[in-house]
Structures are given as structure tokens and as C-alpha cells.
């Protein structure tokens, strides 16, 4: 459950915004599947916090879950991470426009 006032996470960028989730993604990046115990080990938050983050990451689709008996295994879904491209394109367009406006400003206010 996101903390009160925390940004709504509805895309990959929101997933990347949290430092614990970035740590989890880096662990998940090692090929194959991972159990929550393996993922929770190196991070400093509780196992239940890790589970919450994984649940959110599953809802966005950057992580998938497989259950085998009582164990749950998590895998990185790399295709979904590729959506960061559209975010970068927006930043790219932002600067293209901004730097053009900077040029116009400089020329009209030397």
C-alpha cells in the first residue's frame, strides 16, 4: 500500500522511482527465478515490505510470479522495462523545446 502522499505508480518509471525496488530489480536482473527470501536478504527493509514491492511490480508487469507448492518464484520481465524508452523520449523532446526557447530568449535579451 503506498504511503499517504506517495506518487501513484502506474508505469515502469514509477516502479524505478523507489530505491528498494531498484535494488530488487538489480537482483532480479541476474538470470532465472528468485525466491522472496533470496531477494529480501540484501535489502534493508522487512520481508513483508519486499513482498509489497513485488506485488506492485507484478501489477505493472515488470516482474512475474510462479508458484510451486508453497514457494513463489519471481522473474524479471525485461520487455516491460523497455517502456522506459518512451519516458526518455519525452525528456528528449522537453530539452529540444527548452533549448530552442533558451536560444530565442538569449537572442531577444542579449
Amino acid at each position: 500500500m503506498p504511503a499517504a502522499g506517495a506518487p501513484l505508480v502506474d508505469d515502469v518509471f514509477g516502479v524505478l522511482a523507489h530505491p528498494v525496488r531498484r535494488q530488487l530489480l538489480e537482483r532480479l536482473a541476474a538470470a532465472g527465478e528468485h525466491r522472496v527470501t533470496d531477494l529480501a536478504g540484501p535489502v534493508t527493509v522487512s520481508r513483508s515490505a519486499v513482498s509489497q514491492h513485488l506485488r506492485l511490480m507484478r501489477s505493472i508487469g515488470v516482474v512475474s510470479e510462479r508458484r510451486a507448492g508453497r514457494e513463489r518464484y519471481y522473474r524479471l520481465e525485461r520487455e516491460r522495462l523497455g517502456e522506459v524508452e518512451s519516458w526518455l523520449m519525452r525528456i528528449d523532446r522537453f530539452w529540444e523545446r527548452g533549448l530552442r526557447r533558451l536560444g530565442e530568449h538569449l537572442d531577444t535579451h542579449p
Partner: protein, 155 residues
């Protein structure tokens, strides 16, 4: 252009570096071409960039490095994610080449004790994302890791 997870732009202006520097660091100037702000060019200073209404909240920002008129490095927190914006200026035959690098990836980049910069983790998340965006590399083992419509929400 997009270079990995960084957005990089270089442009030449027919104005001296001191003039361009002023446009990057004076709040009234920044308002004119970037967005409303309360910027001060001091390392450690916090400031806000008001991207409303395209964003719900102004961005919380911080000045990381100031080296007039050569280099300005700032952190912009966009949608809760810290991103690094670096301006570099070099004199060019009466004009200025301005290079802007916006690291669009939320970063844990922090100052190290030795004064350098680095990410905290052994595997660089950039490598993970580059692998995700390059279909040919997708099977590679990762251990081999002021006012802008750009931020208009899709909601």
C-alpha cells in the same frame, strides 16, 4: 538524442559563456525559458521548478555542483524519482556550446566519501535497462549490468 538512459543535447549559441550561464542561474531568466522557479546557484541549495499544470506538483530540486561559468549539476525529483541534470558550457569562438545531460533514470547516485560520484549497487541498473531495450541482448545474463508538455500525464 538518447544515449543509453541519458538524454544528451548540445547546442551552440552566439553568446558568451557568462551570458548563457546567467540564463541558467538567474531565477527571472530561468522563468523566461524554462519554468517558474526559486533557484539559487549555491551547492546544496534546494529549489523548486514549477511545471504545473502539466505536472501535479512542482519538482523538488537541489544544486549539486556549481562551477561558473562552466558546469552546473542539479538533481530534479520528477514524479518522486531523482534524476540528474548537468549543464556544461564551453567557449566557442565568441559563442558558447552548451551541453545538457539529463540522466532520465532514477538514480541512487550519491557523493562518495572521496568526493567522487557513484552508484551504490554492484550491477548498474543502466545495463539492465539497456539489455531490456535491445532484443538481441535480452537473453544475455545480466551479470555479463519552468513549463513543459513533455511531462503531461497520460491520465
Amino acid at each position: 538524442m538518447i544515449d543509453g538512459t541519458r538524454v544528451v543535447h548540445e547546442v551552440r549559441y552566439p553568446h558568451p559563456p557568462e551570458r548563457v550561464w546567467r540564463a541558467l542561474t538567474d531565477p527571472a531568466e530561468l522563468s523566461a525559458w524554462l519554468m517558474p522557479n526559486d533557484f539559487t546557484a549555491e551547492e546544496g541549495a534546494r529549489f523548486r521548478l514549477d511545471a504545473r499544470p502539466s505536472h501535479l506538483e512542482p519538482f523538488d530540486c537541489e544544486v549539486l555542483e556549481v562551477d561558473p561559468p562552466h558546469r552546473l549539476r542539479t538533481r530534479w525529483v520528477v514524479r518522486g524519482a531523482p534524476t540528474i541534470v548537468t549543464f556544461e558550457l564551453r567557449a566557442d569562438d565568441g559563442g558558447t556550446v552548451l551541453r545538457v545531460e539529463h540522466d532520465g533514470l532514477p538514480t541512487d547516485e550519491q557523493p562518495n566519501f572521496d568526493g567522487g560520484w557513484g552508484t551504490k549497487f554492484a550491477i548498474d541498473l543502466r545495463d539492465v535497462l539497456d539489455g531490456a531495450r535491445d532484443p538481441a541482448a535480452a537473453t544475455r545474463d545480466a551479470t555479463g549490468l519552468t513549463h513543459h508538455p513533455a511531462y503531461v500525464s497520460s491520465r
